[in-house]
């Protein structure tokens, strides 16, 4: 609990997942929780989403992996992670002991592998699974096919369905921004059996080092995140919530309570704080604190704010 009497005004739920407050951390920006414990009591958050875990450990992409951009950054980490076994052995015990919701992000190169991973994560301490269907920094498909799950409704549906079949945990499908019709992807995830959607992953981008005449990132392009992309995320959440009944978790450029309110009012049931933690390691805590103050001042609740900005009856034509 965050403290104070009105803390239940912060409560929210993402499908079957009940959260004491709507502030989670975004995958890949909060490690496995433990790294952040020296900055604040991470168990106060609504939940923690882990760095994406893959079946086998991944070394990640060559370096440089980071470039700054106006009001944002590019990354091409390439899902460097300890792998499933390493996660279960070295990372999960700490998370499991925390009194907050633990969401494990997973990524695979085939739908079957998503199912396998989800199955292996039916263990104590894992409260939900987030499917990273939209990482722009890796190659897809066993045969080197370069299609992102979240670029194709049928791939999205298949990946979600495989995870759904293998796990009794709530399944959150994480989508990306670079599609013409986000609702079609959301609907595909819904057909696959997703309990919720998470929007958005980073936006593919590139910075060129004009002195060296090559891309700054060793891999060429990377994923854009931070305040620069916030309007894109808010729009996607708004579109999804207008089109579908599935609960949505909003992420992209949130660094203040005000930013989180934009997402909630657009229709998100919860939010994730990502890049902002790099600028200020207490960012997620600060967002939560600011939300709490706002709700106290307004005498309102998170549940009452969700979707408040969805204009009913007006077409967006």
């Amino acid at each position: 609990m965050v403290s104070g009497d009105r803390s239940d005004s912060l409560a929210t739920s993402v499908g079957p997942l009940r959260l004491r407050n709507p502030v989670l951390t975004a995958s890949g920006t909060f490690g496995y929780g433990q790294e952040m414990a020296s900055f604040f009591d991470v168990a106060k958050l609504g939940g923690i989403v882990t760095k994406t875990v893959t079946m086998r450990p991944r070394p990640g992409n060559p370096t440089p992996r980071i470039a700054e951009t106006p009001a944002g950054m590019l990354n091409s980490i390439g899902l460097q992670n300890v792998g499933l076994d390493g996660f279960l052995r070295d990372k999960l015990p700490y998370l499991a002991a925390l009194d907050t919701v633990v969401v494990v992000s997973i990524m695979a190169s085939t739908a079957e592998e998503f199912g396998e991973l989800a199955g292996e994560l039916r263990v104590e301490g894992v409260d939900a699974i987030e499917l990273n269907l939209s990482c722009p920094n890796v190659s897809y498909g066993d045969g080197g096919q370069h299609v992102m799950f979240a670029h194709a409704p049928e791939l999205t549906e298949a990946a979600v369905a495989a995870a759904r079949a293998a796990s009794d945990r709530p399944i959150v499908a994480k989508l990306g921004p670079d599609v013409p019709d986000i609702a079609a992807l959301g609907a595909a995830a819904q057909r696959g059996g997703a309990d919720a959607l998470c929007v958005m992953n980073t936006v593919p981008g590139m910075v060129i080092d004009t002195a060296a005449k090559r891309p700054v990132l060793a891999r060429g392009s990377g994923g854009l995140s931070g305040p620069a992309v916030r309007p894109i995320g808010v729009r996607l959440v708004y579109q999804l919530c207008a089109a579908l009944s599935l609960p949505v978790v909003g992420v992209g450029g949130i660094s203040t309570a005000e930013d989180a309110l934009q997402y909630l009012m657009a229709g998100a049931h919860a939010v994730q704080v990502g890049t902002a933690s790099f600028v200020r390691p207490t960012a997620a805590h600060d967002v939560l604190h600011g939300l709490q103050e706002y709700l106290q001042d307004e005498g309102s609740s998170v549940e009452a704010l969700i979707g408040a900005a969805q204009r009913k009856g007006e077409s967006n034509g």
């Binding site: 890949g28 490690g31 790294e35 992996r65 944002g72 990354n75 460097q80």
Partner: protein
């Protein structure tokens, strides 16, 4: 020893060379800082400086620490322009500094090799050792410093180093002071051109270096050739500074596709750890 996020007041800020400022911040962050560790300075309100900017400690005491920095872009320009009384949000101390115990235990003197704004962490080393921070038995250890810069006026902290009994030799790219050429040439000279043999009857126990990547690569090579232990303080674009973004990867010598994290495993590495 874990890092703290703190709003620090600028106590002083003066220009020490063209475009270079020595900034004194009131804060307890430096109290436990080890030479080679760094801070992240948040510049939230400055357009073009979205991510925090990393700086080595130049000097650290219980209630103050100093940064010595060069204005190269929007972030450093904003810090250089601060006035006493203004506040900066700082996270630190971060990273792993020089292993001074090991450096000194290996016997002999310390040789510091600094290029450009690579001098601050080395100044911190000397200051720390003289103040007894590395153990009072080595407070008086012999310390040499080789300091290089583009021109004479950009040689940093030379007087300060000499004032604490560091034997300083300098080099400049344009020959306006000291050796006309690279600071690595001074090192090569110092360690003896022939490698194993010692040019001047001296053989440092350890070389500690900080500066641009090509300089560090050359230092590492010279030390390896001369079989002198070498620790380097490196740079790499960073985001978080505390080990979660995995952005600051440095390829490890051990395996081409294994990475060290600059902000957590470094910024100081044993030269042998790094794939140059």
């Amino acid at each position: 020893m874990s890092a703290r996020l703190q709003e620090c007041t600028v106590a002083a800020n003066r220009e020490v060379a063209p475009g270079h400022a020595l900034v004194t911040l009131e804060s307890g962050i430096g109290a436990a800082a080890e030479p080679g560790q760094f801070v992240q300075v948040s510049l939230d309100g400055v357009a073009g400086a979205f991510l925090p900017r990393p700086f080595s400690f130049h000097r650290a005491a219980d209630d103050q620490f100093q940064l010595l920095l060069r204005s190269v872009g929007p972030g450093t320009a904003a810090i250089v322009a601060t006035r006493p009384g203004e506040r900066l949000t700082v996270l630190g101390p971060l990273g792993r500094g020089f292993e001074l115990q090991r450096a000194i235990a290996s016997g002999g003197s310390l040789t510091l090799v600094g290029g450009g704004v690579g001098v601050p962490p080395l100044h911190h080393v000397a200051d720390f050792v003289r103040a007894g921070g590395a153990g009072s038995e080595v407070t008086g250890a012999k310390i040499d410093a080789l300091v290089g810069a583009a021109t004479a006026e950009l040689l940093l902290a030379v007087d300060d180093l000499r004032a604490i009994d560091v034997d300083v030799r300098v080099s400049t790219d344009d020959g306006s002071a000291g050796h006309h050429g690279l600071v690595t040439e001074l090192l090569h000279d110092e360690l003896g051109a022939a490698g194993g043999a010692d040019g001047r009857g001296r053989r440092p126990g350890c070389v500690l270096a900080c500066g641009p990547h090509p300089m560090l690569r050359a230092v590492a090579k010279i030390c390896r050739h001369s079989d002198v232990p070498c620790q380097v303080a490196m740079e790499e674009p960073m985001a978080c500074g505390y080990g979660v973004c995995l952005g600051c990867a440095i390829p490890a010598a051990a395996a081409p596709d294994r990475y060290l994290l600059l902000c957590k495993d470094g910024p100081v590495f044993d030269a042998e750890q790094v794939a140059w």
